[in-house]
Protein backbone atom coordinates (compact mmCIF):
# COMPACT_ATOMS: atom_id res chain seq x y z
CA UNK A 1 0.00 0.00 0.00
CA UNK A 2 1.23 3.46 -0.83
CA UNK A 3 2.07 6.07 1.77
CA UNK A 4 -0.42 8.04 3.85
CA UNK A 5 -0.44 11.42 5.56
CA UNK A 6 0.74 11.99 9.11
CA UNK A 7 -2.91 12.48 10.14
CA UNK A 8 -3.21 8.70 10.29
CA UNK A 9 -0.85 8.71 13.31
CA UNK A 10 -3.63 10.23 15.41
CA UNK A 11 -5.07 6.80 16.25
CA UNK A 12 -1.94 4.85 17.12
CA UNK A 13 -0.50 7.79 19.09
CA UNK A 14 -3.58 8.38 21.26
CA UNK A 15 -2.44 6.56 24.34
CA UNK A 16 1.24 7.41 23.85
CA UNK A 17 0.92 11.16 24.32
CA UNK A 18 -1.21 13.43 26.47
CA UNK A 19 -1.59 15.80 23.51
CA UNK A 20 -2.84 15.61 19.93
CA UNK A 21 0.31 14.46 18.16
CA UNK A 22 -0.68 15.32 14.60
CA UNK A 23 -0.93 19.07 15.29
CA UNK A 24 2.34 19.12 17.18
CA UNK A 25 5.24 20.94 15.58
CA UNK A 26 8.45 19.02 15.26
CA UNK A 27 11.88 19.47 13.76
CA UNK A 28 13.62 16.90 11.62
CA UNK A 29 16.95 15.82 13.08
CA UNK A 30 18.42 15.44 9.63
CA UNK A 31 17.41 18.52 7.57
CA UNK A 32 16.00 20.88 10.26
CA UNK A 33 12.63 21.17 8.48
CA UNK A 34 9.87 22.22 10.86
CA UNK A 35 6.37 20.86 10.25
CA UNK A 36 3.30 19.46 11.95
CA UNK A 37 3.48 15.73 12.45
CA UNK A 38 0.28 15.58 10.38
CA UNK A 39 2.36 16.76 7.41
CA UNK A 40 4.78 13.83 7.59
CA UNK A 41 4.55 10.96 5.09
CA UNK A 42 3.65 7.61 6.62
CA UNK A 43 4.96 4.32 5.20
CA UNK A 44 5.18 0.78 6.49
CA UNK A 45 1.52 -0.15 6.90
CA UNK A 46 0.40 -2.66 8.05
CA UNK A 47 3.68 -3.64 9.77
CA UNK A 48 3.86 -0.32 11.54
CA UNK A 49 3.68 3.43 11.07
CA UNK A 50 6.94 4.87 9.74
CA UNK A 51 6.58 8.66 9.65
CA UNK A 52 9.15 10.32 7.40
CA UNK A 53 10.13 13.97 6.94
CA UNK A 54 8.14 15.56 4.08
CA UNK A 55 11.33 17.28 2.97
CA UNK A 56 14.18 14.74 3.23
CA UNK A 57 12.51 11.32 3.94
CA UNK A 58 14.40 10.94 7.22
CA UNK A 59 12.50 8.63 9.61
CA UNK A 60 10.98 10.89 12.29
CA UNK A 61 8.87 8.47 14.32
CA UNK A 62 8.09 4.77 14.20
CA UNK A 63 5.05 3.29 15.97
CA UNK A 64 4.39 -0.43 15.99
CA UNK A 65 1.00 -1.40 17.42
CA UNK A 66 0.00 -4.90 18.33
CA UNK A 67 -2.37 -6.50 20.76
CA UNK A 68 -1.38 -5.47 24.25
CA UNK A 69 1.71 -3.43 23.36
CA UNK A 70 2.99 -0.42 21.46
CA UNK A 71 6.52 0.49 20.53
CA UNK A 72 7.53 4.10 19.88
CA UNK A 73 10.81 5.31 18.41
CA UNK A 74 11.42 9.05 18.02
CA UNK A 75 15.10 9.08 17.13
CA UNK A 76 14.68 11.20 14.01
CA UNK A 77 13.18 14.17 15.83
CA UNK A 78 15.21 17.06 17.19
CA UNK A 79 12.25 18.35 19.18
CA UNK A 80 8.48 18.38 19.53
CA UNK A 81 6.73 21.61 20.48
CA UNK A 82 3.45 21.11 22.25
CA UNK A 83 1.07 24.03 22.53
CA UNK A 84 -1.35 24.24 25.43
CA UNK A 85 -4.41 22.08 24.81
CA UNK A 86 -6.70 24.99 23.92
CA UNK A 87 -4.32 26.46 21.34
CA UNK A 88 -3.26 23.10 20.03
CA UNK A 89 -6.82 22.12 19.19
CA UNK A 90 -7.28 25.31 17.22
CA UNK A 91 -4.44 25.24 14.73
Amino acid sequence: MDHLDGNVLAGPSTDLFAFEATTTQCQCQSCADIAMLGQAMVYGQPMGFVARCRNCDNVLIVIVERAGQKSLNMRGLRWLRVADQATNDRI
Binding site: Y43, M47, V59, Q69, S71
Partner: protein, 193 residues
Protein backbone atom coordinates in the same frame (compact mmCIF):
# COMPACT_ATOMS: atom_id res chain seq x y z
CA UNK B 1 -25.40 -10.85 12.89
CA UNK B 2 -22.52 -10.55 10.46
CA UNK B 3 -19.33 -12.26 11.60
CA UNK B 4 -16.03 -10.78 10.51
CA UNK B 5 -13.61 -13.43 9.30
CA UNK B 6 -10.89 -11.43 7.68
CA UNK B 7 -8.69 -13.11 5.12
CA UNK B 8 -9.34 -16.81 5.46
CA UNK B 9 -6.62 -18.48 7.49
CA UNK B 10 -6.40 -22.00 6.08
CA UNK B 11 -5.28 -25.36 7.41
CA UNK B 12 -3.21 -25.83 4.23
CA UNK B 13 -0.09 -27.68 5.51
CA UNK B 14 2.11 -25.43 3.35
CA UNK B 15 1.00 -22.44 5.43
CA UNK B 16 2.75 -21.54 8.69
CA UNK B 17 0.42 -20.80 11.65
CA UNK B 18 -1.74 -17.67 11.33
CA UNK B 19 -1.03 -17.17 7.63
CA UNK B 20 -3.49 -16.87 4.74
CA UNK B 21 -2.92 -17.67 1.10
CA UNK B 22 -2.77 -14.87 -1.48
CA UNK B 23 -2.44 -14.95 -5.24
CA UNK B 24 -1.51 -11.28 -5.46
CA UNK B 25 1.84 -9.85 -4.39
CA UNK B 26 1.17 -7.15 -1.78
CA UNK B 27 3.77 -4.39 -1.48
CA UNK B 28 5.04 -3.24 1.90
CA UNK B 29 7.72 -0.59 2.16
CA UNK B 30 9.08 1.34 5.10
CA UNK B 31 10.01 4.18 2.77
CA UNK B 32 9.90 5.55 -0.76
CA UNK B 33 11.24 3.46 -3.63
CA UNK B 34 14.85 4.60 -4.10
CA UNK B 35 15.97 5.59 -7.57
CA UNK B 36 19.11 3.64 -8.35
CA UNK B 37 21.42 4.38 -11.25
CA UNK B 38 22.68 1.05 -12.61
CA UNK B 39 26.04 2.68 -13.36
CA UNK B 40 26.48 3.20 -9.61
CA UNK B 41 24.84 0.01 -8.38
CA UNK B 42 27.05 -2.21 -6.28
CA UNK B 43 26.78 -5.13 -3.94
CA UNK B 44 29.33 -5.46 -1.18
CA UNK B 45 30.27 -7.65 1.77
CA UNK B 46 32.23 -5.89 4.48
CA UNK B 47 34.19 -7.89 7.08
CA UNK B 48 35.68 -7.18 10.48
CA UNK B 49 39.16 -7.09 8.97
CA UNK B 50 38.13 -3.95 7.10
CA UNK B 51 37.94 -5.80 3.80
CA UNK B 52 35.17 -4.96 1.36
CA UNK B 53 34.31 -7.37 -1.44
CA UNK B 54 32.49 -5.49 -4.21
CA UNK B 55 30.59 -6.41 -7.33
CA UNK B 56 29.39 -4.00 -9.98
CA UNK B 57 26.14 -4.90 -11.75
CA UNK B 58 27.97 -6.46 -14.70
CA UNK B 59 30.21 -8.49 -12.41
CA UNK B 60 27.24 -9.54 -10.31
CA UNK B 61 25.06 -10.84 -13.14
CA UNK B 62 28.05 -12.65 -14.63
CA UNK B 63 28.16 -14.85 -11.50
CA UNK B 64 26.57 -18.30 -11.70
CA UNK B 65 22.86 -17.95 -10.93
CA UNK B 66 20.04 -20.31 -10.00
CA UNK B 67 16.33 -20.64 -10.61
CA UNK B 68 14.59 -20.70 -7.27
CA UNK B 69 11.02 -21.79 -6.48
CA UNK B 70 10.00 -21.05 -2.90
CA UNK B 71 7.09 -20.15 -0.62
CA UNK B 72 7.22 -16.70 0.97
CA UNK B 73 5.58 -15.59 4.20
CA UNK B 74 4.96 -11.98 5.24
CA UNK B 75 4.58 -11.15 8.94
CA UNK B 76 1.38 -9.24 8.00
CA UNK B 77 -0.11 -12.74 7.49
CA UNK B 78 -0.09 -13.35 3.76
CA UNK B 79 1.80 -16.25 2.21
CA UNK B 80 2.43 -16.89 -1.43
CA UNK B 81 3.35 -20.39 -2.57
CA UNK B 82 5.70 -21.45 -5.34
CA UNK B 83 7.12 -18.06 -6.25
CA UNK B 84 9.78 -18.16 -8.97
CA UNK B 85 13.00 -16.16 -8.80
CA UNK B 86 16.45 -16.04 -10.35
CA UNK B 87 19.44 -15.00 -8.33
CA UNK B 88 22.93 -15.59 -7.04
CA UNK B 89 23.36 -17.86 -4.03
CA UNK B 90 25.00 -16.27 -1.01
CA UNK B 91 27.24 -19.34 -0.94
CA UNK B 92 28.74 -18.03 -4.19
CA UNK B 93 29.11 -14.51 -2.85
CA UNK B 94 30.67 -15.67 0.43
CA UNK B 95 33.08 -18.13 -1.28
CA UNK B 96 36.04 -15.77 -1.03
CA UNK B 97 34.99 -13.98 2.16
CA UNK B 98 36.84 -14.69 5.39
CA UNK B 99 35.07 -13.78 8.60
CA UNK B 100 34.95 -14.94 12.16
CA UNK B 101 31.71 -13.06 12.91
CA UNK B 102 28.44 -14.98 13.11
CA UNK B 103 25.97 -12.23 12.26
CA UNK B 104 25.15 -10.00 9.32
CA UNK B 105 23.46 -6.63 8.92
CA UNK B 106 21.92 -6.22 5.49
CA UNK B 107 21.86 -2.63 4.21
CA UNK B 108 19.64 -1.34 1.43
CA UNK B 109 19.50 1.65 -0.87
CA UNK B 110 17.17 4.06 0.94
CA UNK B 111 18.61 3.19 4.36
CA UNK B 112 16.66 0.04 5.35
CA UNK B 113 18.49 -2.53 7.48
CA UNK B 114 17.76 -6.03 8.76
CA UNK B 115 19.86 -8.44 10.85
CA UNK B 116 20.45 -12.15 10.16
CA UNK B 117 22.64 -14.97 11.46
CA UNK B 118 25.30 -15.80 8.84
CA UNK B 119 24.53 -19.51 9.22
CA UNK B 120 21.02 -18.96 7.86
CA UNK B 121 22.28 -17.26 4.72
CA UNK B 122 24.49 -20.17 3.65
CA UNK B 123 23.97 -23.75 2.43
CA UNK B 124 21.49 -22.94 -0.30
CA UNK B 125 19.05 -21.04 1.88
CA UNK B 126 19.49 -17.43 0.68
CA UNK B 127 20.09 -15.52 -2.54
CA UNK B 128 20.43 -12.07 -4.02
CA UNK B 129 17.53 -12.23 -6.48
CA UNK B 130 17.22 -10.05 -9.56
CA UNK B 131 14.42 -11.74 -11.53
CA UNK B 132 10.88 -12.54 -10.46
CA UNK B 133 8.55 -14.76 -12.47
CA UNK B 134 10.84 -14.63 -15.51
CA UNK B 135 11.14 -10.84 -15.66
CA UNK B 136 13.52 -8.36 -14.16
CA UNK B 137 12.53 -7.57 -10.59
CA UNK B 138 10.21 -4.53 -10.36
CA UNK B 139 11.42 -1.63 -8.25
CA UNK B 140 8.36 -1.88 -6.00
CA UNK B 141 9.30 -5.49 -5.19
CA UNK B 142 12.92 -4.59 -4.50
CA UNK B 143 14.59 -4.36 -7.90
CA UNK B 144 17.18 -4.19 -9.26
CA UNK B 145 18.09 -6.82 -6.64
CA UNK B 146 16.84 -7.96 -3.25
CA UNK B 147 17.87 -10.38 -0.58
CA UNK B 148 15.77 -13.56 -0.65
CA UNK B 149 15.67 -15.57 2.59
CA UNK B 150 12.39 -17.44 2.16
CA UNK B 151 12.58 -19.52 5.35
CA UNK B 152 12.26 -16.34 7.45
CA UNK B 153 9.45 -13.72 7.44
CA UNK B 154 9.72 -11.64 4.33
CA UNK B 155 10.89 -8.40 6.01
CA UNK B 156 14.25 -10.19 6.30
CA UNK B 157 14.42 -10.38 2.49
CA UNK B 158 15.63 -6.77 2.23
CA UNK B 159 14.49 -4.98 -0.92
CA UNK B 160 17.00 -2.82 -2.87
CA UNK B 161 19.85 -4.59 -1.11
CA UNK B 162 23.23 -2.95 -1.35
CA UNK B 163 25.52 -4.82 0.97
CA UNK B 164 26.12 -7.00 4.00
CA UNK B 165 28.19 -5.91 6.97
CA UNK B 166 29.50 -8.63 9.25
CA UNK B 167 28.76 -8.06 12.96
CA UNK B 168 29.93 -9.87 16.07
CA UNK B 169 26.52 -9.71 17.75
CA UNK B 170 22.95 -9.95 16.49
CA UNK B 171 22.31 -6.18 16.61
CA UNK B 172 18.78 -5.31 15.48
CA UNK B 173 17.88 -3.86 12.08
CA UNK B 174 15.04 -1.43 11.31
CA UNK B 175 11.91 -3.44 12.20
CA UNK B 176 13.74 -5.53 14.80
CA UNK B 177 14.61 -2.33 16.66
CA UNK B 178 10.92 -1.42 16.63
CA UNK B 179 9.49 -4.50 18.26
CA UNK B 180 9.80 -7.24 15.65
CA UNK B 181 11.57 -10.52 16.36
CA UNK B 182 15.34 -10.70 15.93
CA UNK B 183 15.02 -14.02 14.12
CA UNK B 184 11.58 -14.20 12.44
CA UNK B 185 10.89 -17.89 11.78
CA UNK B 186 7.31 -18.15 10.42
CA UNK B 187 6.90 -21.80 11.46
CA UNK B 188 7.53 -20.81 15.07
CA UNK B 189 5.48 -17.64 14.62
CA UNK B 190 8.39 -15.44 15.69
CA UNK B 191 6.61 -12.20 14.77
CA UNK B 192 7.41 -9.91 17.67
CA UNK B 193 10.23 -9.52 20.15
Amino acid sequence: MAVFGGHRRDDNPALPPGQYLTESFPVLSSGPTPSIDMEDWEFFIHTEAGQTHRWTWDQFIALPSQDISVDIHCVTSWSKLGTGWRGVSLDTLFAEVETGFDFVMAHSYGGYTTNLPLGELLNGRAWIAYEYDGDELDAEHGGPARLLVPHLYFWKSAKWVRGLVMQSEDNPGFWEENGYNLHGDPWREERYA
